[in-house]
Amino acid sequence: MITRRRTSGLSCQELVELVTDYIEGTLPWRQRRRFEQHIAGCDACPTYLDQMRATIKLTGRLRTADVDPKVEAELLATFRDWRG
């Protein structure tokens, strides 16, 4: 049986709107504590939090994905020539 409890006055529906503030570390400590208590007692919200973290990580990979390897190789070659 799945337990999705309404813990410390914060519902799942309310929690999902606080996830960014939680991750950014900007929740006031009282709310942060309620958030963490909810997460500890809920078996669905941790998945939501994980998905948001995965989303942030994947988004960050867009930058590394687009370094043009050809340009990078040329730059490195120039650098080596320059150093002799």
Binding site: R4, Q51, D66
Partner: protein
């Protein structure tokens, strides 16, 4: 150097990739002309991007695209479909998940195609959300740099970031459900 990042940032202010390329070139000219005035109080990179955003903003204004990001308060309401929770009146546990999220499978997290989904979803976001998630999560700018570049309050920055991330998450969830 930084070419992809410069283009991506320029693109937030102007209407097309080709205009963004012109902006980047123009910014480099600005950098070369002004290099004598660079005082080393910020990093060269910060300075470069400051010139870029200034150039891109000016160009955006000339294009008639001068709507400030701060005025683009696009939408309100929940970021997760209310249908996924038990309703307030007729259930034992109102506001708890009725259709809980399922963990994203490892192969989805690692696939190149997943990155394309992320990129395509960001493209479709309203301008202010797209700008904030691009600078914050793709380019890794600080909150301070983002507020300055987009002329936003801290609350706006966080709200826009939250909405943008929630939409990308939702797109990933949908993609994972189709892929399995």
């Amino acid at each position: 150097m930084y070419q992809a990042s410069l283009l991506r940032v320029a693109r937030l202010y102007v209407s097309s990739p080709s205009v963004a390329e012109e902006v980047v070139q123009e910014a480099w000219v600005g950098v070369l002309n002004g290099i004598g005035r660079f005082e080393g109080r910020s990093s060269l990179k910060t300075w470069l991007f400051r010139i870029l955003t200034h150039t891109a903003k000016t160009r955006g204004i000339r294009e008639g695209r001068s709507v400030p990001f701060s005025s683009l308060q696009d939408e309100e309401g929940p970021t997760v479909d209310p249908e996924r929770f038990f309703p307030p009146d007729q259930s034992v546990a109102p506001g708890t998940w009725a259709t809980p999220p399922v963990p994203l499978p490892e192969h989805v997290l690692l696939a190149d195609e997943t990155l394309q989904i992320v990129e395509a979803t960001i493209e479709t976001l309203p301008p202010a959300q797209r700008a904030v998630i691009t600078l914050n999560d793709v380019e890794g700018w600080s909150a301070d740099e983002i507020r300055n570049a987009l002329e936003l309050t801290e609350t706006n920055r966080r709200v826009l970031l939250h909405r943008a991330r929630a939409k990308v998450r939702s797109a990933l969830e949908e993609y994972a459900a189709e892929a399995t």
